[in-house]
């Protein structure tokens, strides 16, 4: 699909894995400039990138680290933006369970044990994704390409594909840390509205996330 002169939207393929890893890492950093997963599992950014690459290569569908969820915006032969979305619980298993299964498979026992020890704090702003909704995750647009409507068109392209496969689904959601004002404002611009939020008063939450409040933004699909 051509969205503007010189920009094309396409489905992610194996050759795009490095860019999708970059997208996930940069989206994770958001405004906080650190990767929550690195803090949650006590791993380096290098290790996180390695693990995400392995998970993407495994080809499991319908959670946030599924390559097939992603659309890539291309400027010529250069990937300039990416965004992913899936139908939550499509195969009878939540994306949360798939994600922790993936991380358990590719991280050390020590990292999993560390997560278990700090999880009660991190869970204070966890919101379970709603089965039967479209879930968006990991938007990333190269700086030079921001403000050119690419994010909005990625959202529309993802929605078009998902709606073609699942015409009865009427809600799309995305979760963002409220303090990530860039992502929050971008999704408001894409037609999402704030549907719910969860705040922790525990200052330790800032060891793991860039803010104390997680927001669900929702878009009704006509």
């Amino acid at each position: 699909m051509e969205i503007q002169s010189g920009i094309l939207i396409k489905n992610a393929v194996v050759e795009d894995i490095e860019f999708v890893v970059e997208a996930i890492v940069c989206a994770e950093k958001g405004n906080g400039n650190f990767i929550s997963y690195c803090r949650l599992f006590n791993i380096s950014e290098t290790e996180f990138r390695k693990v995400v690459r392995k998970i993407l290569e495994a080809g499991i569908r319908n959670f946030e680290f599924s390559l097939e969820n992603f659309k890539i915006a291309m400027s010529g032969r250069r990937p300039v933006a990416a965004y992913g979305a899936w139908l939550e619980g499509k195969d009878g298993i939540s994306s949360g369970m798939l994600k922790i299964s993936a991380l358990k498979s590719f991280l050390s026992k020590e990292s999993i044990a560390y997560f278990r020890s700090i999880a009660p704090v991190a869970e204070e702003i966890t919101i379970k994704r709603q089965t039967g909704t479209f879930q968006f995750e990991s938007i990333y647009i190269l700086e030079d390409y921001r403000g050119k409507n690419i994010g909005k068109m990625l959202v529309q392209s993802l929605l078009d594909d998902l709606r073609a496969k699942h015409p009865n689904v009427g809600i799309a959601q995305v979760q963002v840390i409220k303090q990530n004002s860039v992502s929050l404002q971008a999704h408001l611009n894409y037609g999402f509205t704030i549907a719910a939020e969860k705040t922790s008063s525990n200052p330790e939450i800032l060891n793991f996330y860039s803010g104390k409040t997680r927001v669900i933004l929702e878009k009704k699909i006509p």
């Binding site: 998970i55 495994a58 499991i60 195969d91 009878g92 298993i93 939540s94 949360g96 369970m97 798939l98 994600k99 922790i100 299964s101 993936a102 991380l103 358990k104 498979s105 590719f106 026992k109 999993i112 997560f115 278990r116 999880a119 869970e123």
Partner: protein, 82 residues
């Protein structure tokens, strides 16, 4: 001799701190309180250690119910014993 279901039930009861827990084959994270993304790695690791098996990611991604876990455990055990 205990069945695989009974042994797994014991593991879930101990780790989820629910003595007397009775798991059915059609149970899933939706029906077993406490079986969630927080406890899942520990539960699976304990099953792996108990039966001396190891699940890979694709296998774990297919576990949607206790029946899936029991069947996969039996399958891995049978492979190991051959």
């Amino acid at each position: 001799m205990q069945t695989t279901l009974e042994i797994i039930t014991g593991i879930f009861a101990r780790l989820l701190k629910k003595p007397g827990l009775k798991l059915e084959m059609n149970d899933s994270p939706d029906t077993v309180a406490g079986w969630d993304s927080l406890t899942h790695p520990e539960l699976i690791t304990e099953v792996e250690q108990c039966f001396e098996i190891e699940f890979d990611f694709k296998e774990l991604a297919g576990i949607k119910s206790i029946a899936d876990l029991v069947q996969l455990t039996d399958l891995k055990q049978n492979k190991n014993s051959k």
